[in-house]
């Protein structure tokens, strides 16, 4: 009986040690926590691996869960690189001291306005807030002049958003920085009354297209992406840019960073350099992502309204507070 | 005047004929037993009378009311016929009291008193009423089923092998109790069973069924002693069938000269004796000598089984029968009291009491 017991214990220990290692990631490769669109990151990874031979394992998720996850994982995080869609997630990881400094030549590829002064992470792409509206339901003069107008009772039941997504939460974080906590809390409270919740920006646009709501607050590229495919979810959709430095004209910077805990810092830095470099930024211009390129001298897709024409408000990406935003939204009953 | 009248009742299940023309007449207040081997159609007949199924052809008339005429049938719940099924079919989700009162109206006067009374009538203790069916013994379950059926004051009571799940001792006493109970209540009863002893002791009229038809209907005595054919004879009990020549009320048979219940004169007939008519007396080889009229046999096998024993006897000096080969060396098998079991090899003297029955 004793022998059987020790044999069993041995077998269990062996089995655990075998399956306890994250088998699905191969040795010498890097792990990317990717909150960007899968297709975009897959294109980057494909190009990078082809060029360098470095294998990349991608875990897909969202900005907020990954940033919080990395903080929870701390020094033991299996991730080497973190890519986001928006800045607040980057700020959260940076403030926990978990990023390694980005290589200087990588930083040099991106204009100062798209990176924090700390140099702990770097912008990799950008997207603009838009009000996507149904062209058959709203005329040009009926469009809201400001994001804040959507809090007006006249908009009750007429607009949509995806509050659980990091995209919308980034827009709220910009609002928080631009107008302060009290104004933001009030706006969120009014939003809870007025808006219809959908899951995901594509779904919001689909609902707008179908006329379920008059309009929705999303990012610009969902529209172009759908137009490039069949256009069946955006046929009736028009994009309204708030401009005038309105909080609704917020341009969100997608970030990339290398984790201090990375076991393969060289490969991780190489990946970030590739993404922010010529070929990486070219993917944004030629691919189907329709996000803005941010590299020095890099061009965005010609179909887009040029970044410079958006009259975006000046927002300090390094102080966008994601935790405060989720707390405010939880308090408003949006989460 | 018959109370229940069945005329030419037929029932098929697919190509199988379960009932192939049944006629039956039941007198009011009487007890009728329908007996037959399993699969003979007796349960089907009962289900037709109860109204669970409709006959393909034939009429069922109860007390002047036509219950079924061909496919047109009064549904079971409008017939007022009580049924006690093989295992009682008590509702497992209801207490005993609720089971007994199931057919009563809820606001019926003195409902609970009536339930207690019925329980008393069938011999159940009052304390049992709060229990659930699975807490009861088989006999108690049957009593509950009977009380439940009696609660609706049925015109006719159908008992579908109600005693077969009980053990031997209990079966006999239950049978007697139920018979007396129904007698007192004056309820006409039909019992379906495959147990011939049960049928014979319970009923005033017995119908032997085979292959969807009645072979014979009559009083228990009639059927037992004067069965119409070998099948009926053997179904109702052990039978010794012998070839014989009859004349003047006597038969010459392998068992010698035996009185028969027929006065006709025929050369080749079959006669039947019940084994209890053959008496054995222990003797010895010496005792055989000088008694040519007497019949002797040798005990080939004797199996002791407590109160009874089974004895196989080979006839030693059978008189020349009409076709001796038929009986030849086949021993007679007799069941006798176990008190005085002979041993193998012993010589016994055989005598026949009463008359043998001559098959038509």
């Amino acid at each position: 009986m004793k022998q059987a017991l020790s044999a069993l214990a041995g077998a269990i220990a062996l089995a655990i040690s075998l399956i306890a290692s994250p088998v699905m990631a191969q040795d010498g490769s890097i792990v990317v926590y990717n909150a960007q669109h899968e297709s975009l990151t897959n294109a980057w990874v494909e190009g990078f691996t082809k060029e360098t031979g470095i294998k990349v394992t991608v875990r897909h998720g969202g900005d907020s869960d990954f940033s919080n996850q990395i903080v929870a994982e701390g020094a033991a995080s299996p991730a080497d690189v973190f890519l986001t869609e928006n800045s607040p997630a980057m700020v959260l990881v940076e403030s926990s001291g978990l990023f390694a400094p980005v290589d200087a030549d990588t930083l040099a590829q991106i204009p100062k306005e798209y990176q924090p002064a700390s140099g702990k992470w770097v912008g990799i792409a950008a997207r603009s807030t838009v009000f996507a509206y149904n062209k058959t339901k709203l005329s040009a003069e009926q469009l809201p002049k400001s994001l804040l107008e959507l809090a007006d009772p006249s908009w009750k039941g007429r607009w949509a958003a995806s509050p659980s997504g990091a995209d919308f939460q980034a827009i709220v974080s910009a609002l928080l920085q631009l107008r302060g906590e009290a104004a933001t809390a009030d706006w969120l409270k009014a939003m809870k009354e007025n808006f219809t919740a959908y899951k995901g920006n594509s779904t919001v646009m689909k609902a707008v297209n179908a006329g379920e709501v008059d309009g929705g607050v999303i990012y610009h590229y969902y529209y172009y992406g759908d137009q490039a495919k069949t256009g069946e979810n955006s046929r009736n959709v028009g994009l309204h840019y708030f401009k005038n430095k309105d909080p609704g004209a917020f341009v969100s910077v997608s970030g990339g960073g290398v984790l201090a805990s990375s076991k393969h810092p060289k490969e991780a830095q190489a990946f970030l350099k590739w993404v922010t470099g010529k070929r990486g930024q070219d993917v944004l211009k030629t691919g189907n992502s329709f996000e803005y390129a941010v590299g020095k001298g890099a061009e965005s897709n010609p179909a887009l309204v040029p970044l410079a024409d958006l009259q975006a408000p000046k927002v300090d990406a390094t102080t966008l507070n994601s935790r405060k935003v989720t707390d405010l939204m939880t308090a408003a009953g949006l989460l | 005047m018959s109370f229940l009248e069945l005329t030419d009742v037929h029932k098929h299940y697919g190509p199988v004929a379960a009932l192939a023309g049944v006629d039956l007449s039941v007198a009011s207040g009487s007890r009728t037993a329908i007996v037959g081997p399993s699969g003979c159609g007796k349960t089907t007949l009962l289900r037709l009378i109860a109204g669970f199924e409709a006959p393909d052809r034939g009429r069922i008339v109860l007390d002047g009311e036509v219950l079924a005429n061909g496919g047109a049938a009064v549904p079971a719940y409008r017939r007022g016929i009580g049924v006690v099924a093989q295992d009682g079919a008590l509702f497992p989700h209801l207490s005993i009291a609720a089971n007994i009162g199931f057919g009563m109206r809820h606001h019926q006067d003195k409902r609970s008193e009536r339930i207690v009374e019925l329980a008393y009538i069938v011999g159940l203790d009052k304390a049992i009423l709060k229990r659930r069916p699975h807490e009861l013994s088989g006999g108690q379950q049957q009593r509950v089923a009977l009380a439940r059926a009696m609660a609706m004051k049925p015109r006719l009571m159908l008992l579908d092998e109600p005693f077969s799940a009980l053990d031997t001792g209990l079966r006999a006493s239950m049978r007697k109790a139920v018979a007396e109970l129904l007698e007192t209540a004056g309820i006409t009863t039909i019992l379906v069973t495959h147990d011939q002893a049960e049928a014979l002791s319970f009923a005033s009229q017995v119908a032997v069924m085979r292959d969807g038809k009645f072979s014979q209907v009559g009083t228990p005595r009639e059927l037992y002693l004067k069965p119409k054919d070998r099948m009926v004879a053997e179904f109702l009990g052990d039978a010794i069938i012998l070839p014989a020549k009859i004349a003047d009320g006597f038969a010459s048979s392998p068992l010698g000269r035996i009185a028969v219940d027929s006065t006709e004169r025929r050369d080749l007939v079959r006669i039947m004796l019940r084994p209890e008519q053959v008496l054995l007396k222990r003797t010895s080889r010496e005792g055989m000598s000088g008694t040519p009229d007497m019949l002797f046999g040798e005990v080939m096998d004797a199996e002791f089984a407590g109160s009874m024993c089974t004895i196989a006897v080979r006839l030693m000096n059978s008189p020349d029968p009409p076709d001796a080969a038929a009986i030849g060396n086949t021993p007679l098998v007799l069941r006798k009291p176990g008190m005085d079991t002979p041993v193998v090899g012993e010589i016994v003297r055989l005598t026949v009491s009463g008359k043998a029955h001559v098959f038509a």
């Binding site: 059987a4 994250p22 939880t330 | 497992p92």
Partner: protein, 526 residues
């Protein structure tokens, strides 16, 4: 992974001490106790987090309007969907089992087959058909369509098992057909209805994907939202605590309604074959019910998937991607099923061979954990591994443990039934022939219970194959199951690319559903 000291302190640990006197069983009961303690981890962690978070924060997170909103949504969903499921399943079961409905066998199978379609695929199909579908009534509609088989299966099996003699007896004492149904048939279906309703209710509480498509917020969707916004923050954990409370309330209600009653057939002898009621002129209207159900529950998903496949053409069949997802899904499903079955074995053995208070306690633990939504189990395991057992974080081990915890009851039920059929005498005979207790167990009971174990594994595999939330939260880096791929594509409104995954999930689930159907028929003795 509880420290030994804690094990000794727990009430079950005390029971173990009492147990060791019976030598040969102690081994297995020890294993069963370990499994049960392990399975209590998610629950323990929710309590632990609540304590850690502190009373004030907890109450501010629990007693807020949003939670009330979710509570109302979730309650309304259960209160509306479950009774509709009960009525429909009883009607369908009666028609397919007890009437002469033409093609009854076909309709019976078609009433079970929707199980092969994952709930979120049902929703995906409906949202394609009616793009604006949303809210409570949409939730009720799709939930009923997706979960009806959970009630149909036990109700049909119970109807098949009913002794027709009872109905005859009721008719003989003067009850008409409707009253026979109400007073005799329906009460006997109570156990089946209770069990099935509990199953449906728990699924309604746990389902995520279905309600996301049609924009209906329940606790589970809110927990996932919180998880996506804050990872394992206290808000998510407190929502989970409320959800767990809801599950307990459901379990409690079921125990109360079910009561202590016994519905087995009383008496001996074989039950007579049931008669089927002639529908006569009602046949055509009665036929409408199964036809309509099949159209809604099978027609809609199949037509939708077909439509998207046609629209997507050859482009959506990215075979390398699909092949990888298929391979990973199969691997996870098989490994998880194996682990769940092994973990269930000691418990199943005890419940047949040594039933008693300990066994009931342990079994209760496992059923409670099995009834927890995947999102709760996953959240707890994320927290546990991140905070305490970091080497196990994001490993195959952890996701398999989650599967085992979630689907243990499925394995347990099948195993128990098959062990019950392996007579203990064989085990004793093996022991008397010189085998050690473990070897005796292996060479007799385990061998004989293999078919039941296989059926249980199939059920667990079916659950894992269509699992979404826990897989997303716990899977190792680089994992992409069919359900995850389907979800990613449909999340970007690329319904055409999601269609092949939906088709493969349904195609793989169909044989397992057939197995379930056949098994339920066999258990009812036909």
């Amino acid at each position: 992974m509880l420290p030994a000291a804690e094990l000794a302190r727990s009430p079950t640990g005390m029971a173990a001490g009492h147990w060791t006197r019976r030598q040969p069983i102690s081994w297995i009961s020890l294993a069963a106790i370990l499994v049960s303690l392990f399975s209590l981890l998610p629950l323990a962690f929710i309590i632990w987090i609540a304590v850690q978070t502190g009373g004030e924060t907890v109450s501010s997170l629990v007693f807020r309007p949003r939670v009330g909103e979710l509570l109302v949504n979730t309650l309304l969903l259960v209160v509306l969907a479950v009774p509709i499921c009960i009525v429909l399943s009883v009607a369908l079961a009666w028609l397919t089992e007890r009437s002469d409905l033409p093609g009854a066998r076909l309709w019976a199978w078609l009433s079970v087959a929707p199980l092969a379609v994952p709930a979120f695929v049902h929703s995906y199909a409906w949202i394609t058909l009616v793009p604006g579908l949303h809210g409570l009534w949409a939730g009720v509609l799709v939930s009923v369509v997706a979960y009806l088989p959970f009630l149909y299966l036990p109700v049909a099996a119970a109807l098949r098992r009913l002794d027709p003699a009872l109905e005859d007896a009721a008719a003989a004492v003067g009850l008409g057909p409707w009253r026979v149904f109400r007073r005799v048939v329906l009460p006997q279906l109570r156990l089946a209805i209770c069990g099935g309703s509990l199953l449906v209710g728990l699924h309604l509480l746990a389902e995520y994907g279905l309600y996301v498509f049609i924009r209906f917020d329940t606790f589970t969707t809110a927990i996932v939202d919180q998880f996506q916004s804050t990872f394992n923050g206290p808000a998510a954990n407190m929502l989970a605590a409320v959800l767990v409370t809801c599950c307990f309330v459901l379990l409690g209600i079921e125990v109360l309604v079910r009561g202590e009653e016994r519905y087995a057939r009383v008496g001996s002898g074989a039950a007579r074959q049931q008669q089927r009621t002639r529908l006569g002129r009602a046949t055509i209207p009665c036929l409408a019910l199964p036809v309509l159900t099949a159209l809604l529950a099978l027609g809609v998903p199949f037509v939708t998937i077909g439509r998207w496949l046609v629209a997507g053409g050859a482009d959506v069949w990215r075979l390398d991607e699909i092949g990888l997802a298929l391979g990973q899904t199969l691997f996870l499903a098989l490994a998880g099923a194996l682990l769940a079955t092994i973990a269930a074995m000691p418990m199943a053995w005890i419940s047949i061979r040594a039933p008693g208070p300990l066994q009931r306690l342990l079994e209760g633990c496992n059923y409670i954990v099995g009834s927890l939504p995947g999102v709760v189990v996953a959240l707890a395991l994320v927290t546990i591994t991140v905070r305490i057992a970091l080497p196990l974080y994001q490993t195959l081990f952890t996701i398999l443990v989650a599967y085992a915890l979630m689907f243990l009851p499925r394995a347990l039920i099948s195993l128990r039934a098959s062990i019950a059929q392996a007579p203990v005498e064989l085990e004793r005979a093996a022991a008397s022939l010189g085998r050690s207790p473990l070897k005796a167990l292996w060479s007799t009971t385990i061998r004989l219970s293999a078919p039941g174990a296989a059926a249980g594994m199939a059920l667990v595999a079916l659950g894992i194959m269509n699992e979404l939330t826990a897989t997303q939260m716990l899977a190792p880096n680089g994992t992409r199951t069919l359900a995850m791929a389907f979800w990613a594509h449909s999340g970007e409104i690329d319904y055409a690319s999601a269609a092949p995954y939906a088709l493969i999930m349904v195609a793989m689930s169909l044989p397992l559903t057939w197995l379930l159907y056949v098994q339920s028929k066999r258990m009812a003795g036909r």
